[in-house]
Every structure is written in C-alpha cells, then in structure tokens.
Amino acid sequence: MVLSLTPPRPADAAWFDTRRDGDLLRVAAGGRWVLGEARRLDHALRGLAVEGCRRAEIDYGAVDRLDTIGAWLLLRTRRELEARHLAVAVVNVPEALLPLVRTIDHDCTAPPVTLPYHQTLLWFLDRVGRSVVEMGRWGYELLGFFGGVSYETMATIVQPRRLRWAALINQIEETGLNALPILGLLSFLIGVVFAFQGADQLRRFGAEVFTVNLLAISILREIGGLMAAIIVAGRSGSAFTAQIGTMKVNEEIDALETLGLNTVEVLVLPRVIGLILALPLLTFYANVMGLTGGAIMSYFDLGITLPAFLRQLRGALGDWTFWVGIIKAPVFAFIIALVGCFEGLRVERNAGSVGRMTTQSVVASIFLVIIADAMFSVLFDLLDI
C-alpha cells in the first residue's frame, strides 16, 4: 500500500511515502524538510496509520535539506511510533545532515511542554484573589511608609539642620513655580466654563447675578484645590516616581544606603515638604485664575462689571469659604508626594516597572486625593463651616 502525500510533487517540496512490508512500516522522507513545509508535514505525519505494524523504518535518504523543525518532525514521528510499541530504525541519514539530527536527538529529551491556556474559571478566580491580596499588601506597605515618613518629618522639625535646603528649594521651583503656566491656563478656562454654564441655567430664574455666588463657592471650596492637586499629581507625583524609580533601577538607592545616607531624608523629605509648601500657594493661584476667568465671562455674558462682581463676591463669601479650600491643600500635597515616592521606591530592577509604577502612582494619588476631599466635606459639614 502506497500513501504519498502530494502525488504530483513540486520539484523541491518536502514529501514522505509510507509502505507496508508485512509488519514493517517504511517511512521514506525526501525533499526540503524546512519551516515553510512544516504545516503540511505536521498534519500528514499526525495521521500516520500504524495498525498491525510491529516494526518501523524511517528513511532519511532522499532528504536534501533539513532545518531544526524538519529534524524535530522526523524525531517526533519516531517517538510516536515508539510510544505505540513499534521498534523503530533510522536509516540512510545523509552525512551532511548527521550533526543536526544528532543535536536535535540529543537535546530534545524532554517531552515538549504544553502551556496552560489562560481561559478557565479557576484562573479567573485565582487572578481576582491575587489582586485583592496584592491591594491589601499595597495599603499595608503604604501605611508603613506613611509612618516612616511622618517620623522623619517630625525628626526634621525638631532638628531642621537635617533638611536638605538646596533640594527643598529645587523641589519648590520644580513642582510649584514651573506648574504656574499650565495650572493658570486650565483654572482660567474652568472659571470661564463655570460662569458660562451657571449663567445659562440661572438666567431662567432671573437670578443671573448669583452666577458669582456659584463661582465663588465652587471654585474656592472645591475646584481650585482639586485642579491644583490633580495637575500636580500628573506633573510632579509621576515625576517623583519616575526619578526615584530610575535611581532604583540604576542601584543608586542602594549606593546611597551603603554610603550611610538615609534615603527618606535625602530623597523623600525634600519632595514631601516642598510639595506641602507649594500646593497651598498653587491652590491660591488657581483660585485667583478661576475667579478671573469667571469675572471676564460674567462681564461679556451677563454684563456684570468688575466692581459689581467684587461686591457680589464679598457678599457670597462666608468666613471660612476661602480657608476651606486652602486647608485641604497640604493634606493633598502630602498624599501626592507620599504615594509618588512610595511607588518610586517600589520599582523593581527593570525598566518596564518604572512605567508601570508611574501610572499606578498617578492613578492612586488622584484616587486618594478625591477620597480625602470627600472626607473633608463630611468633616466641614459636621463643623458647620
């Protein structure tokens, strides 16, 4: 019985013939056993019928080109025949192919591993469980870092000589001064948008002038501070993580420690204290720019002149309206700097981890800032301010 793979063979294609000789199965391979032919050969070789055979012979004689995948297919065939209790002989291996056949034969002793495919329900539950544990551990470690940094901050307040003044000034410039253009522009635009939208709604009740009250309360109490915090988290929190993370990758942190320097004191404190000083100022600036935008829009949209705007503004403000926004800023700053530095120190020794931690730092700090803001709202409500 002759079973040939592709009866009209192209000149250089790979082929094999199988022939029965009593209980002997002869497999004769020929042509170019290379990668491009592998798909066809793989399929055909898997369908090899061996019923009633007790011996087999694999003939390499007509193979004129062989690469690792061809050699593997022939070896696999041999192993499969052996697994079905056939005595297999390999014959006529051309001299030139001998080294490769031997190498593959010698190296591939282990059965190929089939990889687990990630589709099962169990795998899903496993992942969910791991993420939850991971998140719990993250919170726990952050709390520990919070404790450490708080302790160092207190120690520095008692002993201000330990503070790195040059680094602190540098951080204030970087996180505060350099953020002014972007923060100013965005706050201004937010003020414009609020005034426009507010006026549009309030006009229906004939209460346009209360647009100023709306602006004053929303910008001073919430929006100014949140804008500043979110911009700073995106600009500086991520920068903290990336800077410290890169130092971690370069083993600079380890070098600092072995030189007898305190990482928290050298790297974390200037950033934390710098941001705590800068963010309230940024919040004030964002408030001013937001109100300016609102005032300009109010003039063009509603015809409220600047003196009228200021008079209405003074009436709208309670004793605490301004301070409510400013008081929150140092807390936001502490959260952003803490998370930024914490994620930076968590970076592992590969470049990919810097990017991952930076993303995580921004997301986590904005998340925590908004949680803190919500808690402040509850607190201020209880205090009636």
Binding site: L35, T68, T103, C108, P112, T114, L115
Partner: protein, 258 residues
C-alpha cells in the same frame, strides 16, 4: 521558507562603509567579507563602534556612504517586502536578550513564527520547546516571563528567539558579556555546536578573548575607524599598537596561551 541558495558563498559583504554618529565618524572606508558558514568576531575598544557596525549591517543605523550586501541583497536599497524576506533569514541576539517583557519566553520564541508562518499552535509549542532545549534551557522556562530569568538565561532565551525561524545568518552582540566564566564557556560551546549542526554564519561582536579563541574562524579588529581582519595568528603579528596590546597584553597572553 528558505529561498534557493545564492550563487555566491558570501553571506555579508561591506564595501567602503562610512558611518557617522552624532557628528563623529566611526567607520571610514571599512570593507569586510564574511563567507557562508564562517564565524567572524569583531573586537575593538569601548566606543570604537563595534555595535554600530553590527547595527548598520542589519539596517538599524544608516550608513553615510558605502555598500552593504547581506545574503546577496543590497541592504541600502532594500525596503518593504524584500527587506522583510531578508529579515526572516537572519537572527539577531541583542546585548541583554531584548526579550519582550510582556510575553512569556515561549510567546517570545513564537512571535516570529506567528508573524511569518502559518503553523498550528500545537506545533509552535513544540518548536518553542525544541529551541529551548537547543539553547540548553529547561522546559519549564517556556512559561516564565523575562523578568523571572537570570541574565544568562535571558541571553539563551534571546538566542532561542533569534533561532526561531532557522536563520542562515546569526548576529550576536556581546553574547558572553556579563556572564560568569562557566556560563560563558557553555555559551561558546553552544554557539559552536549550533554553528556546526545548522551550518550558521555568525557575526559576533565581543570583548571576550576566550570566546574569540573558542568560537571564531577570523577576527576583525576595529581600530582607527578601519578594520584589520585575520586569524588570531595573523593578527598577533600586526604592528598596530592597540592590536599588539590586545593580543599580547597580560589578558591576551593568558587567554591565548592554552
């Protein structure tokens, strides 16, 4: 996959190459021929432009002037489909393996197969494990991520990926740098074995004198923006001071004595 053999038995031919990086001329009138089945080692001082030479030949860096032929194709004019075809015929091992960090080792090895062939998944899994055993990695490496591997294992896995498409030509950038001497020896043997059984042509940038002695047929020394090419014995008689110091300095003598 492999096109018919080229009439010539020359794998790489570089003529009158001039490259410039950041305003610095790194190679001037560099010419080089690598025959099929040959292992060529490229050495030179730090910053002499060894890696740039490799990158220029594989087309990652543009030559200012000169002609580069790889596997009979003029690399300076090749683009699109024709370039892709040449790229499937060579394998490149970068310094730290350059494994894709988001993929397991098996997926890394299978990526070129997935892009350039239509093998069924079961066969690709087999191929991945064959390549892993070829480079001497245990089978369970297949499911690991590059970050979980040591430097030496990453290099081996990188080599397995470079071998995925059964290339005719292999480019290695500092294959033994950063390995301990035992791993480096094993790597040398591995390269030599693979070269013999797969009849590879190897273009290798290295600093390692032991690797040079153990694996290469000829050596190209990059000094003063040009190449001095020859066997170790020929280069030891070269009067150029850097080459003399390289082969006859303390390290050179120790490595070449045995």
């Amino acid at each position: 996959m492999k096109p018919p053999a080229d009439s010539s038995d020359i794998a790489i031919k570089v003529e009158g190459l001039l490259t410039r990086v950041g305003g610095h001329v790194l190679h001037d009138h560099v010419s080089l021929t690598v025959r099929r089945g040959e292992v060529l080692g490229v050495v030179g001082g730090s910053g002499a432009g060894k890696s740039v030479l490799l990158r220029t030949i594989i087309g990652l860096n543009r030559a200012v002037r000169g002609r580069i032929e790889v596997l009979g194709q003029d690399m300076t004019r090749l683009s699109g489909q024709a370039l892709r075809r040449v790229q499937t015929r060579w394998g490149v091992l970068f310094q730290d393996g350059a494994l894709f960090s988001g993929q397991t080792v098996a997926e890394n090895i299978q990526l070129p197969l997935r892009e350039h062939t239509d093998l069924p998944q079961a066969l690709m899994d087999e191929v991945a494990s064959v390549k892993l055993s070829l480079v001497g990695l245990p089978p369970d490496t297949a499911g690991k991520y590059p970050a979980e591997l040591s430097g030496g294992m990453r290099k081996r896995a990188g080599l397995a990926r470079a071998l995925a498409l059964d290339p005719e030509l292999l480019f290695l950038d500092e294959p033994t740098a950063g390995l301990d001497p035992i791993s480096a020896n094993q790597f040398d043997e591995l390269i030599r074995d693979l070269q013999k059984s797969l009849n590879l042509t190897v273009f290798m940038v290295t600093h390692d004198l032991d690797t040079l002695r153990a694996t290469t047929d000829r050596i190209a020394v990059l000094v003063d923006r040009t190449l001095h090419i020859g066997t170790i014995a020929e280069l030891r008689t070269d009067p150029h001071p850097w080459i003399h110091e390289y082969f006859s300095g303390a390290r050179g003598r120790a490595a070449l004595a045995s």
